[in-house]
């Protein structure tokens, strides 16, 4: 696949065609993300966000997690409870295994729509809709679940057909050898510049592959495992993962793993040039430094054959 490369000279107003750019100061715009990928990325942002917030609304109807096929009310893995203290005030208790934490104000008990402390797992600013409204939360969740699934299937189909997965995401042997260096670079927030920035590094590749193929497919399967109708045909899978409540717990864990991924992803975007990265995912064009001595043709508009990075 060919990508269009626009070379521009940021030093002066003179057209690059007349004055070849000084190598040290030149940058070029690379068409990095194709239109379908950009569209699917932003559709995913919307659907994943709304599924997360409506998912927490659904979770609030039974703010507790168990393993197995049924709940053991006395021994939850996680529970966001509300209790009354000696003076009759509602206090929020988060139970993780045998440990209990007072999380009043955020988890277990938080302000309701009238401003008074209310027993609810996650607070209203994290749920869609805001007030406790299970049936409406389900409407939001299933609507965006379809968008998430259809969008995800399109993404996987497109990326496999265009060799995006094989070329840009699947780690090469050289990538694996550089994993130590890549980890060291990441913990020091060091980012590659120039042409190297166009290539996904090994940690990026692994993160994207895991998020797409493990989190993405896993969370959909665990969602289906909670459906009693689907379980008529999926029960071997449900039993394999440890039962319906285990599937619910895994669904919850993957949802938060998505949140962890998004936080890291957004953090990396912020520290590696937020404007450039956003432009890349909105317009498709990403600016890279042209390093001195690198063989970039000085033509103002050059069509250079290279790997795509969408």
């Amino acid at each position: 696949m060919t990508t269009e490369t626009v070379t521009e000279n940021v030093m002066g107003p003179s057209p690059a065609a007349i004055t070849p750019p000084a190598p040290a100061a030149s940058k070029r715009l690379v068409y990095r993300h194709s239109l379908p990928i950009r569209l699917m990325h932003w559709i995913n942002v919307v659907s994943l966000s709304l599924m997360f917030f409506s998912g927490l609304q659904i979770f609030n109807a039974h703010p507790s997690l168990s393993w197995g096929n049924y709940n053991n009310p006395d021994k939850p893995l996680l529970a966001l409870d509300a209790r009354e203290d000696a003076s009759g005030n509602l206090i929020g208790i988060t139970r993780i295994g045998k440990h209990e934490f007072n999380t009043t104000g955020v988890l277990g008990v938080s302000k309701g729509s009238d401003g008074t402390p209310t027993a609810r797992g996650f607070p209203s600013w994290l749920t869609v809709p805001g007030p406790g409204w299970l049936s409406m939360g389900r409407q939001w969740h299933f609507f965006f679940a379809w968008i998430f699934v259809l969008n995800g299937l399109c993404y996987i189909g497109y990326s496999l057909a265009k060799k995006h997965v094989q070329r840009d995401l699947w780690p090469t042997k050289a990538d694996w050898r550089g994993i130590g260096q890549s980890i060291a670079d990441h913990v020091r927030f060091k980012h590659p510049h120039g042409e190297e920035a166009l290539r996904y590094n090994i940690l990026q590749r692994l993160a994207y592959l895991i998020v797409i193929f493990v989190f993405g497919i896993g969370i959909v399967l665990m969602g289906l495992a909670m459906s009693p109708r689907m379980d008529a045909v999926l029960s071997p899978m449900v039993e394999l993962v440890g039962g319906r409540q285990a599937a619910r717990t895994i669904h919850f864990i993957i949802a938060w793993a998505f949140v962890a991924f998004v936080l890291i992803h957004v953090f990396e975007v912020l520290i590696s040039g937020v404007f450039n990265q956003l432009r890349g995912m909105i317009t498709g064009y990403y600016k890279v430094d042209v390093e001195p001595g690198s063989v970039v043709k000085p033509e103002p508009v050059a069509v250079i054959k290279e790997t795509t990075h969408d």
């Binding site: 053991n72 809709p129 805001g130 009693p228």
Partner: protein, 254 residues
Amino acid sequence: MTDRRTFLRMAIMGTAGLLVAGCDKISQSSWGPKVLGKAQGLNRRVQALLSPSSAMAKEYTEADISPTFHPNGTTMPDTDEYQALMANNFRDYKLKVTGLVSKPGEFSIDDLKKLDNRTQITRHDCVEGWSAIAQWTGPQLGGLLHAAGLQPHARYVVFHCADNLGGPGDGGKYYESIDLFDAFHPQTILAHAMNNRPLAIPHGAPIRLRVERQLGYKQAKYVMAIEVTDRLNHIGGGKGGFWEDRGYEWYAGI
């Protein structure tokens, strides 16, 4: 730097606030729930393709029965009629079968026990998210309907219940409905026993519906009458069930 951070924090919180407020506006609008609800029709159709109407819910073993089974909704119907039946241990109870049937009838608990009974250990999944496992025994609804003889335009089976979960009066009466695929499914039974004992009051004595492969609110408790009908819009709020009239889906397979 601090300004930038403040700006960023304000921007994020502002966006989140707008998003949540926007979603609440859509939830309360007349069109929002209609658009979002389109997905539920898709759920029903696609699930019927992936999991055929004849597919059986998983049946568990006695060892899998859960030590607790939370009774949800009404746990003690307070109408005089029900209290009188209860006082006599349901000996005067008669399940009425009415509507689009050629032979309307009434069945006592003993009559129901004489029909072909099925025992199954299944998982109950509440819409709230929790699950419990119990053993249920009762006559297959299909057999009962077959004996009553369905008229050609019969499409739904409605269950009228003794509980007034929504308050006194007809508007608060619990009811449910299923289609004929579910009505004639082998695991759809009118359970009179749970875990080898007569059905307890909190669990819907004397009869509760078991329509496996759907969520808990479809498993109507305290069933007093069965009505075969061709449409649902003339019963209750018109959506086919107590919770359906309050925003939940008639198809509760997910």
